[in-house]
Symmetry: D3
Amino acid sequence: MTKTVATLGELMLRLKPAGKLRLRQASGFELCHGGAEANVATSLACFGLNSRFVTALPDHEIGTQALMALRATGIDTGHVLRRDGRMGLYFMEEGADYRSGCVIYDRDNTAFSNLVSADIDWDGVFNGVDWFHISGITPAVCETSRQLAEAAVKEAKARGVHVSIDLNHRERLWNYGVSASDVMPPLVSMADTLIAGRGDCPACLEIEGEGESGSEDWARSLSERVLEAYPNLSRFALTIRTSSSADVHDWQAFLRTGTEAVFSRRYTMSHVVDRVGTGDAFCAGLIYALLDGQSAQDAINFGAAANSLKHSIAGDANQVTAEEVLNLAQTSAFGRLRR
Amino acid sequence: MTKTVATLGELMLRLKPAGKLRLRQASGFELCHGGAEANVATSLACFGLNSRFVTALPDHEIGTQALMALRATGIDTGHVLRRDGRMGLYFMEEGADYRSGCVIYDRDNTAFSNLVSADIDWDGVFNGVDWFHISGITPAVCETSRQLAEAAVKEAKARGVHVSIDLNHRERLWNYGVSASDVMPPLVSMADTLIAGRGDCPACLEIEGEGESGSEDWARSLSERVLEAYPNLSRFALTIRTSSSADVHDWQAFLRTGTEAVFSRRYTMSHVVDRVGTGDAFCAGLIYALLDGQSAQDAINFGAAANSLKHSIAGDANQVTAEEVLNLAQTSAFGRLRR
Amino acid sequence: MTKTVATLGELMLRLKPAGKLRLRQASGFELCHGGAEANVATSLACFGLNSRFVTALPDHEIGTQALMALRATGIDTGHVLRRDGRMGLYFMEEGADYRSGCVIYDRDNTAFSNLVSADIDWDGVFNGVDWFHISGITPAVCETSRQLAEAAVKEAKARGVHVSIDLNHRERLWNYGVSASDVMPPLVSMADTLIAGRGDCPACLEIEGEGESGSEDWARSLSERVLEAYPNLSRFALTIRTSSSADVHDWQAFLRTGTEAVFSRRYTMSHVVDRVGTGDAFCAGLIYALLDGQSAQDAINFGAAANSLKHSIAGDANQVTAEEVLNLAQTSAFGRLRR
Amino acid sequence: MTKTVATLGELMLRLKPAGKLRLRQASGFELCHGGAEANVATSLACFGLNSRFVTALPDHEIGTQALMALRATGIDTGHVLRRDGRMGLYFMEEGADYRSGCVIYDRDNTAFSNLVSADIDWDGVFNGVDWFHISGITPAVCETSRQLAEAAVKEAKARGVHVSIDLNHRERLWNYGVSASDVMPPLVSMADTLIAGRGDCPACLEIEGEGESGSEDWARSLSERVLEAYPNLSRFALTIRTSSSADVHDWQAFLRTGTEAVFSRRYTMSHVVDRVGTGDAFCAGLIYALLDGQSAQDAINFGAAANSLKHSIAGDANQVTAEEVLNLAQTSAFGRLRR
Amino acid sequence: MTKTVATLGELMLRLKPAGKLRLRQASGFELCHGGAEANVATSLACFGLNSRFVTALPDHEIGTQALMALRATGIDTGHVLRRDGRMGLYFMEEGADYRSGCVIYDRDNTAFSNLVSADIDWDGVFNGVDWFHISGITPAVCETSRQLAEAAVKEAKARGVHVSIDLNHRERLWNYGVSASDVMPPLVSMADTLIAGRGDCPACLEIEGEGESGSEDWARSLSERVLEAYPNLSRFALTIRTSSSADVHDWQAFLRTGTEAVFSRRYTMSHVVDRVGTGDAFCAGLIYALLDGQSAQDAINFGAAANSLKHSIAGDANQVTAEEVLNLAQTSAFGRLRR
Amino acid sequence: MTKTVATLGELMLRLKPAGKLRLRQASGFELCHGGAEANVATSLACFGLNSRFVTALPDHEIGTQALMALRATGIDTGHVLRRDGRMGLYFMEEGADYRSGCVIYDRDNTAFSNLVSADIDWDGVFNGVDWFHISGITPAVCETSRQLAEAAVKEAKARGVHVSIDLNHRERLWNYGVSASDVMPPLVSMADTLIAGRGDCPACLEIEGEGESGSEDWARSLSERVLEAYPNLSRFALTIRTSSSADVHDWQAFLRTGTEAVFSRRYTMSHVVDRVGTGDAFCAGLIYALLDGQSAQDAINFGAAANSLKHSIAGDANQVTAEEVLNLAQTSAFGRLRR
């Protein structure tokens, strides 16, 4: 039977100039919608799972536009609330070669940031749900959202739903007087699966790996320490990105379970189309593969292939099928035109 | 010698889908910048006056983009401050035929809305200034901006600068607990020239005209009552719009001074390109003509021609020359291709 | 309780050059999706009803794109099948002033045209359905689709569902050896509500009105004859369009029930944005109003206002809310910018 | 047998901002190619005649682009020379409502302006040609082009080719020290058919009509005087445009031959798409109809319908078929969508 | 004297989203026209040869648009027939990095697919023709087109025209009940020059090379076997592509004549703009060079340089001059801006 | 105190097809403005210096558009004159991979090319100026501009302003009968700082380096010889570009002063966005760093980082902040998304 995953978070309208133009050069914006948990939900819907996304959107045409974008991908939007407040936005400037890209968040006082636990029908949200996913971005937005994130995880656990957290540390958030390392540990101590990028564990959990950051040894030691510190976790996935320019990224993932520690295939993306949401693509890939009953090695490879494909997809979310991911994970013939 | 005009207000980034698409249909946004007082400043700069605009913009690339837009038109931006906070935004859906257009303001917690009088070098702002203009939009934003507007008018008057106020009533603003009719009267009682649209005097000053709204008699009686109630005013201009669809508008203005009461030529715009900022275009036209020493009749005609031309200009501000306005005001041969 | 409407038909990908360019001048195509019954379903979903659309789409990315477009508007796509075959297309050239627009259908051998009754789970399709709508386009495509249309109406009637048929005569279809007047009468004789444009009854039912086509008397006599000929019909709606150029259309509707005969308000659209799908917008408006329990007069007015608004919406389907239609139906102040 | 028409003149690259944007607002330019005689050639090719266009284009990629545009429409480009020199350009700002459009010519020192009679193989050019057309724009460019125009008309006459001249007076040209009234009379005295707009005869031939400009009497008297002054002319066509805004034009034509004087049907274009090249469209229509053997009345009606249609076509040239023109000339049902 | 080449095949309208967007993400399509034999004809026309293309296009505006595209490049379209039936289409999704591109053919029941030998004036088609080229795509479309391809080759041979065939195997075609290896051998046995990609000979001729596919030895052995099996062939060209991602391709060609066996220069394209039509660009380059009388080594180098350049050209056809190809073939200084 | 730099030269309107399209494929042009000295002025304004640009622009809307582009970046345009004459243009075709880009200049008879020394208020131009910069492009345009360049340098020197010259050799200019090696030496003999690309010294000064062009030894010997030949120079900067394709460039700079000879960091741009203006970006970077009091090593590194960043910026001018350049010059972590 098709599995059901729920995620909760803020959906933002992204505004980006065409191509490689700087924000100051823009005479218009391309738009798409994204947000860490929404991206995971979208990718899972494209994989064919039942994917439920919980959020609040403003009760005006810009909110309707966002709702239509969610619906288009097949997400179950039955728990998307319409409320007063702003639409979360972010402006994006795509990097190029030696020039770094940048993101300007514009998410003060949004409809989502005012959403509280009592607004949500938790029984409905978790009805039939196999897995719940949330990222460290939601508690980073404001105190209200932190409480919402905490409530969500508790409500999930109370119903026996498997919980994954992606630490997803963003330095430009966390502006409401607490730090990630105050907030994330209690959340992580309720989770089943933890996902982290290279600098996330030091910043959020104050746990460092041994050896050179990004090395195999470092990954092994870091993962051991995390699972030791959080015995509730049955699984810890670590992603290791090395970028040599805005266009060229090298990427690998690592997965430790109680019994196994496996590295994924390693990909070098030499013509990155859109770097945003690649971490979320990995989360979705990993969740899909695990719900699909794949082995640790297959699952981490599936997640890595999903991440790699996302680098070639414009927009925040990974609009690819599970079959496409599997094909990449299993081939070594790249870039053929199918005709 | 070239005259100098200063205006103060918020500059917003406007986001609009291409053509007649609804917001929900947009796959991108066209952008321009606008705001009532910025529009007046832009139009005056295009007319060739020294035009100074006072505002605060966020200290990031989106603020830089806005600053570049101001500079391009030749505005003196020496008193544009860069501050923390959001860029004011508005989303716009263009109307068509029987479908009304709509504007969604997104101006919570902007850099401008946090600007206070003490941030501003008033001596510098009013150095060499002949005329200061502000609209009823600024005090409608929030209490901080109301205080700023009040301070600005006081500082201008203290330096003997002529002050004009455009009532510019917007029902969707005024959300901070006071009404236009609480706030505007004390401001108007400091002004020299008052400008009002059809419904502005009832809403802001609680003064009604006699007879059918929009009729000649109504305009005459309303203007008499306003000048009676506010003897400080040397001039009262009234604009009368009648729209039969989003594309077809009829427009006329009326000016009463201590000694004269004159109607402008009447224009019927049958293929409106952009209705936003047409009132600001009138204000700029009137200010220009009066500073230019034109008679009341010529000045109101100049303002009306400026308004009429603005209906044919995309974007918020009237990017036309004084010569173009004069040509329209004096001709009855319309629409010839110049080649 | 929210009402549920089902419709069945082909969804096409529409390809149109930008603005007023001719097809031969195009350097690209704008795209949207449409089809008579899909348009009705979309409009009803935008009005807030449960709207179910039954069709077949090709099992490749172009089919997925179409499915995403359906989903975005909130349509229930649970009965959209994915099959081998082409995506139906049409090329559109927008008319302008004295130049007629034109449509080039490209719908040979599509996934939909090969769909047969046995492919469809009729119990599921009609589960909870209050109203079923189909147009004369579906039986005009090919013999297979004619049989499908017939089956659909029979299955609906067998379950006690109210059936409406829009005659929607298209001369460029009906290429498979039968004429509309062969095929439509048996279908109409099973329907409850019939909707027809100016020339539809002569072409499809061989019934003419008396007097000048489009006149009030003509409408009355035609409607009497139709209800006489098809006593199964409880309602007959007639739409009367007069176009003086591609940009200027005049439009009115008429509704006859067993007891009443009412004309709608009359609208003159002087700046048509998109003429396609305006008839479908009327159908959706009428269905909504009738399911909403409105009087014959209110219902025909609601349908006419929906039709009028659609002329201002780009794309095939009427993406407006019921509230917007109601506002237009009840106001005489047109074209104000809401801000 | 299909008739052959030759024309000679400059082809320009036209650069225009999108939609109704002013030149100063442009962030890019749409492009097309045009020029009075090229427009006539293009329209005739679209009508299905053999259409030969003689010009010189620069020998670089921008010239190649222009050549490709000519070829696409089916023009015989065997006598298009490639030479050193600039590509002629013009910038165009579309008018809107009360705002006049404008054209900025940029045609100094172009490849065409340096073309001389000796460069051209006149025998080849006029081989099989039934009609030669040239406009008053070519001799207005520079002395070299004036000589070329004169030579072309002489060479045509020497071979017994019917010659038409469209006076096409442009005040912004004629900058090389002579006036239109110096240059045009000797050219006109060699022509067979003369075509003129409202102000052309006074400006180029110093011949005025009697009565109010544009009136029926005025047209009759003007045409009599022209035919009297230039007995070589077998035909004189006069076009009468009245524009009430950039979007609304009224248009009628008049034709006098030795024996007849007929007015065309009158058209009111209320949503002008592109006003440029409408006079050329009339010339092409008239030439086509006359070569087709139509009566004076039918021919002037055909020309007027061609002119009317061109107002709905973006770009300089009238890309319509002869069948489309005929349909418009013979119908009174406007603006129906063909589907 | 300029040589004349004829080709015969289907011209398709290609529809592609902007940039790297997936088909499902498209909000519009860029368009161009292409097809194997049309691409060869276009490239040869750009090289300056007389290039004649034989096909059938639908008799409506979409066919006219296609005809205009052919004409623009200077192709002789005198043998392009206009017929009932569809325009052949294909949708294209550009690959990126690890994501494969894909093509969705939409060519059922097209005007071309119904074209039969009796429709064609073979004497006219081959009048003055030096070389006839056809690819394996035409016989793959349907039985009618297979017969047409066979007839074309026979008619060419009957008139002593040199015939080249590019095997051009496409797995997604050949859906009418025969396989490439049934159909291609008899065609090849009539040809003079054969061109094949890496997997074409096994699939179409059931001939394999010895050693590792793509190696030098493999190429030598394969070519020997082909020339042995088809002694009618005077020349066999083999192209060897290795792609490491959608953006990075490595390419080399090999040519065996009766007396020589030469490899071309090898190119690595690291930023592919458009991979489609690169094989056709090679065919055109080889044909041009051979008709130009170049040596085997120069000719294969010319073909390889043409192929390499095509990777940098958007659209199906290689719009470059012979001089540009020669420059690349002879230089080792790449990528300088010419100014 | 903020330093002031003045530059003098022609500003051109650049017209470029979208993306990698060839000029002949364009259906529109993207536009920006540029010119060697204008690019330097723009970059310096973006760095925060007072930047004054002296030029002449045509007195029509296209000139106004150009003026607005200058103003937007914060340049002091008080010495931009408006004159009769054309706007300088250039068409640009972006290269791709093995295909070279190309530039077609269109700058005959422009407003700037007719500007003479007497038109300019030199006291005003050099009021408060610390540094004056000009390139070898200005004297290459025509004799009038050569005289203007000479006068400008003399006027600067007469007022004790530091003068830098960028040789900037363009083979396609210098068409008025003199060669760069006639004109540049006397100019260089008045300068303080000289900047040259790889082939500039041989072409303009007839001075060659020893050893392989581009090698370290070559740079050292060339710089020694230049400083020996021109003892007036206090500084000589040399830039060394090696391009392996249109997309991949390698770049390093070298600076020799009286006492030091230092190489910059070396950058490999592997995804070039826009190669135009990268040399100007270096000039601006070097000038900024030197006026900022940086050491020779830091200054050449700052210039090189500025150059490197410009390769990632679309348009002619380097719209980056000094802080961004410094960040790149001091980091080895490239391409991180800032969020």
